[in-house]
């Protein structure tokens, strides 16, 4: 029973008799506490620091930072209060960025492989030798196979120059995991229904939303500062939260209602929701009539998806479905059906994404308060560059993971281009993965293309950050791909399993030690932000742009990098936009103010802009119909565990980003190893107790060992572990062999229409070791 002290400023508590007796009797002398209060002790003074601004590289959300330095060394990272991605707050990962700079095991010098590939024998070489070698290999590859034999995989906020280098070289094969391994089906579903982008820094009016229907969106642990803060503000403002997840997360603990839905079945629940919304006419009638097409067809298609049907599949009680639908209708358009951040899980991720977009659209949330708003962009022109061979692919947006379907996309990117070499991963290619975004590509398919050397030889790879092993799921394919290459160049800040295979390691300066290209984004306000160096590079490292320019110069591609430094480039870009570097460095950011008229057109009765073929939101997307892919709207049976098996699930935790922060000593201390969550009943049945070591084995034979957390916070038919552990690179001195790798257990099936990976389809057995 807790003691409940209501606040009373006049109340003054005294030591309890026992405690006081002890404290006062020290040394048998009376207390001098009061005398000491007034004694003039010297108060510690805050040491002076210098400040520069930047944006974070610890995850991909891009929070604005203020970095404090002392003695020329970055000592603390704080949030830039002006930046709309985080409004001055910074998570544990962001705070721990300091330890990226000072990690003893950083990549410090250019290295050349001397032993077998992957054996880990290198020799330190000069920058000149490293860059000459890369340029020479590029030329060799082009002569022997053509430019398309180069692939480039990037994963970080500084990857842009590497994409530019690859595009200048003439290959279409540049990719980032954000589409194929993460958000693809979610971004695509918004694009095909509305023609709009809702993927990277999502434009949800969180503060004003009144009802969050959260489909496994664990927003408190898979967190992005501005988004999480906005959501908490929305909840504090009275929004209702209904949360679905096989696991009781911290988000579940904040929810008004929580349902332990059966893994992979969100789509069934959502279809029943649509069923109720259309049948009970709970949708926004004016919006649907004026701004959408395909309502009648949709209605026909969802007739079979009754709440009772959904209940039998999802374990969600049938009666809550109409109730939730009615509650949402009452609050619409200030409602939001929240997709999971990573929607690469089931046998029909696109269908799941579509049903979420359709529900949001039925509630008329577009451009409405508490719904989805239209962002404002800060216009900063690119520098003038010669034409790229694969121009549509080279047209990448500045930062973040937004998929650019604007203008000629989404149609053009899958239309066969005359005489142009197609992407090796098949993204945007007719007959392969026409729906996949060609700017970001399918990283999983790119690895496969390298492993199988199909449809054509891909013999050279450049990676900028990332870790193919632990951010994909198929170690065998990744290893085969890396071994097949003629040459592999890895640019990174820290060692990891993937760059261990490199022929040349290019050590990148950390994001605290360099300028980078501008960050351009848009929320209710538009902004452009700058990354300034908080300190000189500690080691013999360079920034991505400098490295790429120096390679380009040696490979006769210098015209794509016409400036002497990245600083000069951003100065020119800002000048073109009518601003200057000195101006942006004052606060780290320049903004165009929010404009309610632009952000919330719907509130003024102005129709939304939906750049689809019909110009309206398409409840049955015409693109899918045209490609005969509209069957994705229908429910697909999901894998089911046998009696002795479990669904295998994994997720992020608040203080780790993917598989890239486990070696950071500041974040690592919170969870030295991950644990397998298992329900007490399932554990008892197997004689497993809390803390026991178990072996987790997938149907295909892959297995990992891990300690167990027995908890009621998970379904009986599901096990869970935190993502990113189980590193097997000994150079990662903190993370090496800590916990188990979920990546080595997750499935590598694919969404049949998108080509993105479906990681949630592994079924596992658990036995005590």
């Amino acid at each position: 029973m807790s003691t409940h002290n209501n606040f009373d400023p006049s109340r003054r508590a005294f030591l309890g008799a026992t405690v006081g007796g002890t404290a006062l009797s020290i040394a048998g002398l009376p207390s001098q506490a009061l005398a000491r209060i007034n004694a003039p002790h010297p108060h510690e003074k805050l040491k002076e620091t210098t400040e520069v601004f930047g944006f974070c590289d610890m995850c991909y959300w891009g929070c604005g930072l203020k970095i404090r330095s002392r003695n020329g060394l970055a000592m603390k990272i704080e949030g830039n209060p002006e930046h709309p991605n985080n409004w001055g707050v910074v998570c544990a990962k962001g705070n721990s960025g300091i330890m990226v700079a000072y990690a003893p095991n950083r990549l410090k010098y250019p290295m050349k492989r001397v032993g077998e590939r992957g054996a880990g024998e290198w020799k330190r070489i000069s920058w000149d030798e490293a860059l000459d070698t890369v340029a020479k290999e590029l030329k060799k590859i082009k002569e022997k196979y053509g430019p398309q034999a180069l692939a480039m995989i990037g994963h970080g906020t500084w990857e842009k120059p590497y994409h530019r280098l690859a595009h200048a070289f003439g290959t279409p094969n540049t990719t980032s995991p954000v589409f194929g391994l993460c958000c693809g089906p979610r971004g695509l579903s918004n694009a095909v229904v509305t023609g709009r982008n809702l993927t990277g820094n999502e434009t949800i009016d969180l503060e004003n939303c009144k009802y969050f229907l959260m489909m496994g969106r664990n927003i408190t642990e898979s967190l992005h500062n501005g988004e999480t803060l906005g959501w908490l503000n929305g909840v504090a403002n009275g929004a209702k939260v209904v949360y679905f997840d096989p696991r009781y997360t911290i988000t579940a603990s904040k929810a008004d209602e929580y349902y332990a839905i059966r893994p992979l079945t969100d789509h069934a629940f959502l279809l029943a929701m649509i069923h109720v919304v259309v049948n009970e006419a709970l949708y926004d009638k004016k919006f649907v009539a004026e701004q959408t097409v395909g309502f009648e067809e949709l209605k026909q298609r969802v007739q079979k998806y009754t709440p009772e049907w959904a209940a039998s599949i999802t374990d969600v009680p049938a009666d809550i479905i109409p109730r939730i639908a009615r509650e949402m209708a009452a609050k619409a358009p200030s409602v939001f059906v929240y997709a999971p951040r990573r929607l690469t899980r089931s046998a029909n991720d696109l269908g799941t994404g579509l049903s979420i977009t359709i529900l949001n659209t039925l509630f008329g949330v577009w451009d409405r308060k508490g719904g989805i708003f239209s962002s404002i962009k800060f216009e900063v022109p690119e520098i003038d560059l010669p034409k790229f061979e694969h121009a549509h692919i080279a047209k990448r947006i500045e930062t973040g993971g937004d998929f650019d379907y604007s203008g000629d996309v989404p149609q053009a990117h899958f239309v066969d281009e005359q005489g142009k070499i197609q992407r090796a991963d098949g993204a945007g290619v007719m007959g392969r993965w026409p729906l996949a975004n060609a700017q970001y590509g399918l990283t999983n398919e790119m690895w496969k293309a390298m492993a199988e050397q199909k449809p054509y030889p891909v013999k050279m790879l450049i990676t900028a950050g990332g870790n193919g092993f632990l951010n994909s799921t198929d170690y065998k394919t990744i290893r085969q791909a890396l071994m097949n290459l003629d040459f592999y160049v890895a640019a990174d800040v820290i060692p990891n399993e993937m760059n261990m295979y490199a022929d040349i390691i290019l050590p990148e300066a950390s994001y605290l030690e360099r300028y980078d290209d501008l960050q351009i984004g848009g929320g209710k306000e538009g902004y452009v932000a700058v990354r300034m160096p908080a300190m000189k590079p500690l080691h013999d490292t360079r920034d991505a742009w400098t490295i790429c320019k120096q390679i380009a110069d040696r490979a006769d591609l210098g015209q794509y990098f016409p400036h002497d430094s990245i600083k000069e480039l951003i100065e020119e870009r800002l000048k073109k936009a009518g601003h200057s570097l000195a101006e942006i460095e004052k606060k780290g950011i320049l903004k165009v103010p929010a404009d309610p008229k632009e952000n919330f057109r719907g509130e003024q009765g102005i129709p939304s802009v939906f750049p689809t073929p019909s110009g309206k939101a398409e409840l049955v997307p015409s693109i899918l119909k045209m490609m005969k892919f509209d069957d994705t709207l229908d429910y697909v049976e999901q894998v089911r565990p046998d009696e002795d098996e479990f669904h295998f699930t994994f997720a992020r935790i608040g203080f780790h980003t993917h598989a890239r922060t486990q070696d950071n000593i500041w974040t690592a201390e919170f969870m030295p190893e991950n644990l397998l969550w298992i329900h007490p009943d399932a554990a008892n049945k197997r004689g497993i107790k809390d803390g026991d070591l178990v072996k987790v084995t997938v149907r295909d034979g892959r297995s990992e060992q891990i300690k167990v957390k027995v908890t009621l916070r998970i379904r009986k038919d599901t096990v869970f572990m935190v993502h990113g552990y189980g590193h097997f690179d000994k150079r990662m001195t903190t993370a090496y062999k800590k916990g188990a790798s979920d990546s080595n257990l997750a499935s590598y099936a694919q969404d049949p229409r998108v080509g993105s990976i479906s990681m949630g389809q592994s079924l596992v057995k658990v036995e005590k070791v």
Binding site: Y102, P104, M111, G115, G120, E121, K123, R124, L538, R731
Partner: protein, 188 residues
Amino acid sequence: MRSQLYLLASRLFNQPTAEHLAVLQHLMTELLQTTSSEVPWRETLIALKPQLKYEENRETEYSRLFILAFPNTTVQPFGSYWLENDQCLMGRSTLEVKKMMAEHGIEIAEDTGLLPDHIVSELEFMALLASQDNEKALQTQQQLLEQHLALWIPRFIAALRAANPASYYQLAADFLEQLIESEIRSIK
């Protein structure tokens, strides 16, 4: 004399490029001519001398031991790795060394990619100080030796030996150990 010994030690832990080895050979010849037969490291130097020829393998071995090791763990050549609670670089101890250097009007040249408490930097700094004949240089040497080198070099050497190094680095470790031990004795 002490200056040359420290310089030799410093060069032994620099990347064994052909250039560095040429300097080492020169230094070694000079040292062997001038050292008495009683110094503890004489045998070590005699054993090392024939190995001062350039070999690409040795550069690989250097990289394996001190830069990017797999499958063993890197023998970090930074004082702060051994002296700081968090094993991170540019800690308080590094700043102390940096400050000592600044007091003598020197800093690490930018193109070396070295930190002030890299073993090469600290030993070279000792060599410089040992070549100077003044009270301040003597004080700094004592401070650097007692508060830094004596504390971390033995641990560094133990880690180096545990990494099963090639003979060149076994001898380099022996020499460094003999030098530092002798220095500690003479200071006492």
